[in-house]
């Protein structure tokens, strides 16, 4: 190959690279903006006056600033307080237990000197292939475990996940077995080895599993829908859903002409947005702080179990 052809080839490769990157920047930017835009619009709408929103529709800028919606949303703060309290308590307690059980089980199942390793692995894995479905599970929880209007109903169903355990197991396989072995020779028992030697080596794993569990608890509305009827025991997301639904119903009544004098003045649409901001805010604010671990953790999850 002459010097000339090599140069042209390099030139073409360079040009392709630029075209590829231009496309990459454009598509990533478009999709990224699509992902973040709705959050921004909701935030803007929650600070817009109801009249302006109904006249102009949702928009990218605040047309008429108003905090009326927030004032109304927190007018009965006790209900929001209940929802927050329940979700925060359940998230903190549930996440801690979930991480502990997943890592502990994962550790035992990857121990090479544990004879029943395969039997138990199959015992857990089988439940991901076959399950009894919603109905028997629901009957078990309501009739035999007494979950109706019980905080356990928010805590128990998300407390252990076989997938998280498999992630823990595959992560711990990369920790040299010699650590366990030598500690045992020195007379430490299995529980001590796990808590004092293995767990401190698993910080990225703990962060990942913790995040998975925390998200599952924070975003849970399903268990509240199935088991909770008392408002003071509902989770935050379910409370939000109830609020949105009732405001939707009110608006439909207004548009059908019912009792406009009372409900027509309520900022229903903006209040919906304000409630959404209140319920989503903490997790979105937390996001930049956990993102570092999140990426690292998903990489762990990608290593096949």
């Amino acid at each position: 190959m002459s010097e000339w052809t090599v140069k042209t080839k390099r030139g073409i490769a360079q040009r392709d690279k630029i075209a590829f990157n231009a496309m990459g920047y454009m598509l990533v930017a478009i999709f990224g903006l699509m992902c973040v835009m709705p959050f921004y619009v909701i935030l803007v709408a929650s600070f817009t006056s109801e009249g302006s929103l109904m006249r102009n529709g949702y928009s990218l800028f605040i047309t008429e600033f108003s905090v009326e919606a927030y004032k109304l949303a927190v007018r009965s703060p006790i209900r929001i307080f209940w929802a927050y309290r329940n979700t925060i308590c359940v998230t903190v307690i549930g996440t801690s237990i979930s991480v502990l059980i997943s890592t502990m089980t994962g550790y035992v199942l990857q121990r090479k000197d544990f004879g029943a390793r395969n039997v138990f692995s199959f015992f857990f894995f089988f439940t991901t292939l076959f399950n009894g479905g919603l109905v028997p599970w629901y009957i078990l929880c309501v009739r035999y475990l007494g979950f109706k209007n019980n905080y356990l109903a928010l805590l128990m169903p998300l407390m252990f996940s076989v997938w998280n355990m498999i992630i823990a197991k595959s992560y711990m396989t990369s920790i040299p077995f010699e650590i366990t072995e030598s500690a045992k020779v020195d007379g430490a028992n299995d529980v001590r080895v796990f808590f004092q030697l293995i767990l401190p080596l698993c910080k990225p794993l703990i962060a990942t599993l913790g995040l998975f569990a925390a998200l599952a608890y924070w975003n849970d509305w399903f268990n509240s829908m199935l088991f909770i009827t008392k408002e003071e025991k509902m989770s935050l997301q379910y409370f939000l859903q109830q609020m949105i639904n009732s405001m939707q119903a009110l608006r439909q009544m207004v548009s059908m002409g019912a009792n406009i004098s009372i409900t027509g003045t309520l900022p229903l649409e903006t209040m919906k947005m304000a409630m959404t901001v209140v319920a989503t805010g903490p997790i979105v604010l937390l996001y930049p702080f956990v993102q570092k671990y999140f990426v690292k953790g998903l990489t762990i999850g990608a290593v096949k179990g």
């Binding site: 990459g24 990533v28 959050f39 502990m104 035992v108 004879g115 292939l129 009894g132 078990l140 990608a302």
Partner: protein
């Protein structure tokens, strides 16, 4: 035969004596899975019973295959099964296509700052619940004040109401599903790409390969294994719909159910009405068996042909 059994028993006993603490550490997870996974499997007997809340699972009367007969005669089963499967297959294929494409594009981006920034944007939807997504759906597509309808009207077009026309929904569901999970999903592929030996790319560059060729002949083949595993994992749930998404986005809007009804919604409605618990549980068993058979057959075939790609 008998001595083999005795030897096995003796080995198990020795293992138990030596690893007592390990067994102890397994108790919480084992108990949990026994109660919340295996007992409900036993509870599937109510698919063959006329369930009555007072009498409980054991006290209710046996009715044989009557629940299944109702289920199969209701004419809806084929429709629901087809919808569930088609939605899932669409989610898997379109989702994977986008996840892999974005992973490859993000990996090539030069600017670290841009990469970090927009990658976090793409993750954001993964952090929120379907309740909030339903609110977003109204903001974007709502009839009276939604962004899109405002835009269409400003352009001189007609407003359209998504809540009364079923034909928009397959598109909307795919859109929101992809919107919520692409950022998260692409990370897994991105991790695999970062793990590829850089020397392969350098060697290809020296040989004059351009970026498309490198993507086609190096990056893509390296991603195949991850793709097949993700595909198999999704296939194991092929007849189980994403209840959270369907329920929150569609809810009880009967006007659009003709294109969006899936097995999970049907089961939930039957459970909520409490009259059809036997049939709901028969539908659940049907669903579980379909999933189980699918994953066993597909995994079996893959194990025969390409053993290193099989799931188990």
């Amino acid at each position: 035969m008998d001595t083999g059994g005795i030897a096995r028993f003796a080995r198990a006993r020795r293992d138990f004596m030596r690893n007592k603490l390990l067994y102890l550490m397994l108790i919480p997870a084992t108990a949990y899975v026994l109660v919340f996974s295996y007992i409900p499997m036993g509870g599937l007997v109510i698919a063959f019973k006329n369930y009555n809340y007072q009498a409980g699972i054991w006290g209710s009367a046996w009715v044989g295959f009557q629940n299944f007969r109702f289920l199969f005669l209701s004419n809806k089963l084929w429709f629901l099964t087809r919808n569930t499967l088609l939605y899932n297959l669409t989610f898997i294929t379109i989702g994977m296509l986008l996840e892999v494409s974005f992973a490859i594009m993000i990996n090539e981006l030069g600017s670290k700052y841009f990469k970090k920034f927009f990658q976090s944007f793409m993750f954001l939807p993964y952090f929120i619940s379907w309740v909030v997504v339903a609110a977003i759906l109204q903001v974007v597509f709502g009839y009276e004040v939604g962004l899109l309808n405002n835009f269409i009207e400003a352009m001189g077009g007609e407003r359209f109401n998504i809540y009364s026309s079923a034909k928009y929904w397959p598109f909307l569901l795919v859109l929101f599903r992809v919107w919520k999970s692409t950022g998260y999903g692409s990370i897994i592929y991105l991790a695999t790409i970062t793990g590829i030996d850089q020397e392969l790319f350098d060697a290809a560059s020296i040989d004059g390969a351009n970026i498309w060729q490198k993507t086609r002949y190096i990056t893509f083949p390296c991603l195949t294994q991850t793709m097949i595993i993700m595909f198999l994992l999704a296939l194991g749930q092929a007849f189980r719909g994403d209840f959270g998404m369907f329920f929150q986005l569609i809810g009880s809007n009967a006007q659009v159910l003709e294109t969006t009804d899936i097995l999970d919604l049907f089961i939930y409605r039957a459970l909520a009405s409490t009259a059809d618990i036997g049939m709901a549980s028969a539908a659940g068993l049907y669903q579980s068996v379909l999933c189980f058979v699918t994953i066993m057959v597909v995994n079996g075939v893959i194990k025969k042909t390409r053993p290193d790609y099989s799931l188990f």
